[in-house]
Structure formats: structure tokens, C-alpha cells
């Protein structure tokens, strides 16, 4: 009787995850907990980190098979693997974004490319370590584009096995930009430069706003077919917003659809953070290279703005250069806050939004060129 009882208990125990939990699982559960902690207590990108952290924790509890073929998280990941989710995120971003600041001052657009030197510094350093192929180095470099969906898109094309590390690095550093960027910005600028007040920009007409998505979609898709799905959806979302006629569609893309896709994306990314894939030497390297990419991008953006000032009669505040790294609108907000500390009446946010929005195109263009050159 007792033997039977114990036998049944043992059989039950075998079915639970307790029998197969590893030290790696426990470490990853702590990592997931840390992401949740950062979201809850520090308010760092809670929309992203909560879902990623939660699904990281759950996916590392063995036994549930949530991430195995047939499991719920497995299907969420199919949206990433088939590269459906990143373009849908871009649709929502387009429907949410006012490109007016970029259209009204196109001269600052070049900062959206200048602030991407970090991508290339990371590519070269990744190759220098001898641990990564050129495709893997390209995927790591795109972390410096500070654009989550673009990082996922490029990684899925170049090095899908590195998705968990790259997605987590990209989203975590985007969340930590208020800590990462200011020291670099202060180091490279003087107090006088940070205090420069910029001239008000011109208003943008409805006709210009409506023409913008059509023209940009044609140009970028013509020149960079590899990133056509992303830019097409970004511009479709923006067109829905700017025509004013289909408010319901624009609102759905910007709110309800965006929320559904965000939940699916965060669950999918978190579910890839399995201990055996994540706890490796390469992960440490990728996290380090990602940070260098962010620092390098911030620095090159500021330096780009300072170089522009050599030629401009009307000087620009070099802090806006740092916003060219993308990560809309976090980087623009960081530039604004740093400028505000020097002069409480200097509202830089709208000026920084121009390069910030250009940074989205800068990342897309860099990513498109990487895909075209590496995968052709």
C-alpha cells in the first residue's frame, strides 16, 4: 500500500518541472525578475520589459512546454520568426508619429545618419573578437540603431539564433537611455553649446503631411527593398493618421492593434530567453558590444551636430545630434532634459524630434544596406 502510494507520488513528481529544473533556469528566472523590477520600480519601458520579464520567468520554469512546438509562446514567436510582428509594430508607430518636426527642418535629417556610427563600431569590434561571423556582427551592430522592431527584423534575417540576446540588449538599452546618453553628451559639449536656443520651426501644411508617406515609401522601397516591409507599414500608418478621413483605422493601428502586437512581441522575445541559449560567453559579448554601439551612436550624433555648426551661420544645439540615434521619443526627451538643466527656458524637444525621427530612417537605411550586402 505504502509502496503504491510512494510510487504514485514519484510518478506525479516526474510530471512536474521540479525534476528537471537547472541552475541555469534559476539564473534566468532571476534575470526575468530583474527586468520586471526595472519596469516596476524604475519605470524603464514597462510596456516592453514587463512582458519580456514575465515570459522569461515562465519559459524557464521547466515542464510547461510553452515554448515547444504546439505551446502558446511558440506560436507567439512564429510572428517574430516569420517577420510579421516588426512591420505591424511599424504600422502602429507610423499611426502614432507626427513627422512634422522632420519635414519642417530637413537640414537636421543628416544627424539621423551621423548618429549611427555606433552600429559600425560594434560591427568592427564584434568581428575583432573572432567570435562572430560577418552576419552575426551585422545583427549585433544594429543594436546601435536603437530601434527594437528594426533590430528584430535584421537579426531574423542575418542571425536568428542571436535574437534573444540582441532583442533584450536593444530594448534594455533603449529603456536605459536616460542614464547612458547624458554623460557622453556632457563630455562632448560645453555649457555654452548646451545652452544654445534654436529658432522656431515653420508650420507644416496638411498637403505636405499627406504627400510625405507616399514619397518616402516610394524612395526608400526603391533604393532599399530589403527593408520595404518596415518602411511601407510605417508610412501606411502615417498616411492613415494624416489624411484625417479614417480616424477609426488610424486609432486602431496606433492603439488597439499596437497593444495586441506589443503583448505578442514581448511574450515572444521573453520566451526565447532559455537558459541554455542565453547563458553563454557570447551573450556577455553582445551585451557589451550593444552598450558600445549606443555610446558610439550618441557620441557621433553630437560630433555630427558640432561639425554642422562649423558651417552654419545660425548655430544648432549639438545635443539634438544625440537624438539622431532613433529610439523615438526617448532620445529626443533626453536631449530636451539635458538642455533644460542648463537653461530652464530652452525647450529643445521639438528641435530634437527632427533628428530623432530621421534616426528611424537612418536605422532602416543602415539595416537595409547591411541586409543587401550580407545576404545577397
Amino acid at each position: 500500500m505504502i509502496e503504491q502510494f510512494m510510487g504514485l507520488l514519484f510518478a506525479l513528481g516526474e510530471q512536474t518541472g521540479l525534476a528537471s529544473i537547472t541552475a541555469g533556469n534559476i539564473i534566468m528566472i532571476i534575470v526575468g525578475g530583474l527586468l520586471v523590477y526595472l519596469a516596476l520600480s524604475k519605470k524603464y519601458e514597462p510596456f516592453l520589459l514587463l512582458g519580456i520579464g514575465f515570459s522569461c520567468i515562465v519559459s524557464n520554469v521547466p515542464g510547461s512546454d510553452l515554448t515547444a512546438p504546439g505551446g502558446l509562446f511558440y506560436y507567439a514567436f512564429q510572428g517574430v520568426e516569420m517577420v510579421i510582428i516588426p512591420p505591424l509594430i511599424f504600422l502602429g508607430v507610423g499611426a502614432m508619429t507626427d513627422f512634422g518636426p522632420m519635414i519642417s527642418r530637413p537640414s537636421l535629417m543628416i544627424l539621423g545618419a551621423a548618429a549611427h556610427a555606433g552600429i559600425f563600431i560594434a560591427i568592427i569590434l564584434a568581428k575583432m573578437t573572432g567570435e562572430f561571423s560577418i552576419a552575426e556582427a551585422g545583427a549585433i551592430g544594429i543594436i546601435g540603431g536603437a530601434d527594437g522592431p528594426m533590430a528584430i527584423f535584421v537579426t531574423m534575417k542575418l542571425a536568428p539564433h542571436l535574437l534573444p540576446q540582441i532583442a533584450v540588449a536593444a530594448y534594455s538599452y533603449m529603456a536605459l537611455m536616460p542614464l547612458i546618453q547624458p554623460p557622453v553628451m556632457k563630455l562632448l559639449t560645453s555649457k555654452a553649446e548646451r545652452s544654445i536656443v534654436m529658432k522656431q520651426v515653420r508650420p507644416v501644411s496638411r498637403l505636405e503631411r499627406i504627400a510625405f508617406p507616399f514619397i518616402i515609401a516610394i524612395i526608400v522601397n526603391l533604393l532599399l527593398p530589403p527593408v520595404a516591409p518596415l518602411i511601407t507599414m510605417l508610412m501606411l500608418g502615417n498616411m492613415l493618421r494624416e489624411v484625417l478621413l479614417v480616424e477609426r483605422l488610424a486609432n486602431t493601428a496606433a492603439n488597439d492593434l499596437m497593444n495586441v502586437i506589443t503583448i505578442t512581441l514581448t511574450v515572444a522575445v521573453g520566451s526565447t530567453m532559455a537558459a541554455d541559449r542565453f547563458l553563454t560567453y557570447k551573450t556577455m559579448l553582445i551585451i557589451g558590444l550593444g552598450l558600445i554601439a549606443f555610446l558610439g551612436g550618441t557620441a557621433s550624433g553630437v560630433i555630427g551636430a558640432k561639425i554642422m555648426n562649423v558651417f552654419l551661420k545660425e548655430k544648432i544645439n549639438p545635443l539634438v545630434g544625440s537624438a539622431g540615434i532613433a529610439s523615438v521619443p526617448i532620445a529626443a526627451r533626453v536631449a530636451h532634459v539635458v538642455a533644460l538643466k542648463e537653461n530652464p527656458y530652452n525647450f529643445l524637444i521639438m528641435h530634437a524630434m527632427g533628428p530623432n525621427l530621421a534616426g528611424v530612417f537612418g536605422t532602416a537605411i543602415s539595416g537595409g544596406i547591411l541586409l543587401a550586402l550580407i545576404t545577397h
Binding site: S107, M128, S133, I134, R206, F212, I365
Partner: protein
């Protein structure tokens, strides 16, 4: 001279060439887009679209 499409070599040199081409082309393409945006105000000569009319048109 016949030019043939080449693949980026999986070497340190390849990474440097890839980075230089990508950075240079990014600057050129972004600058090209900014030039097009510079002429956007000319669109306003075609006429004006009223926000109120658009909102009330559906």
C-alpha cells in the same frame, strides 16, 4: 572593366569595408531625402487642404 557583384568577405577587412560603405551610403541617402523635403513647401503652391473638410468628408 566588367564589374561583378561580390559578397562581403567574412573577415575583419570585410567588416571594415561593410561599415564604410554602409555609413557613407546612409549619409548620402538621408541627405537625398532631406533635399526632397527641402522642396516640400513648393507643394503648397498646388493648393490648400482644409483639415475641417477632410474630417467632415466621411
Amino acid at each position: 572593366m566588367d564589374l561583378i557583384p561580390m559578397k562581403v568577405p567574412d573577415t575583419m577587412e570585410g567588416a571594415i569595408i561593410l561599415s564604410l560603405i554602409d555609413f557613407f551610403l546612409s549619409l548620402v541617402i538621408i541627405y537625398g531625402i532631406s533635399l526632397i523635403l527641402h522642396i516640400f513647401p513648393l507643394l503648397n503652391k498646388l493648393g490648400k487642404i482644409s483639415d475641417e473638410e477632410l474630417k467632415g468628408g466621411h
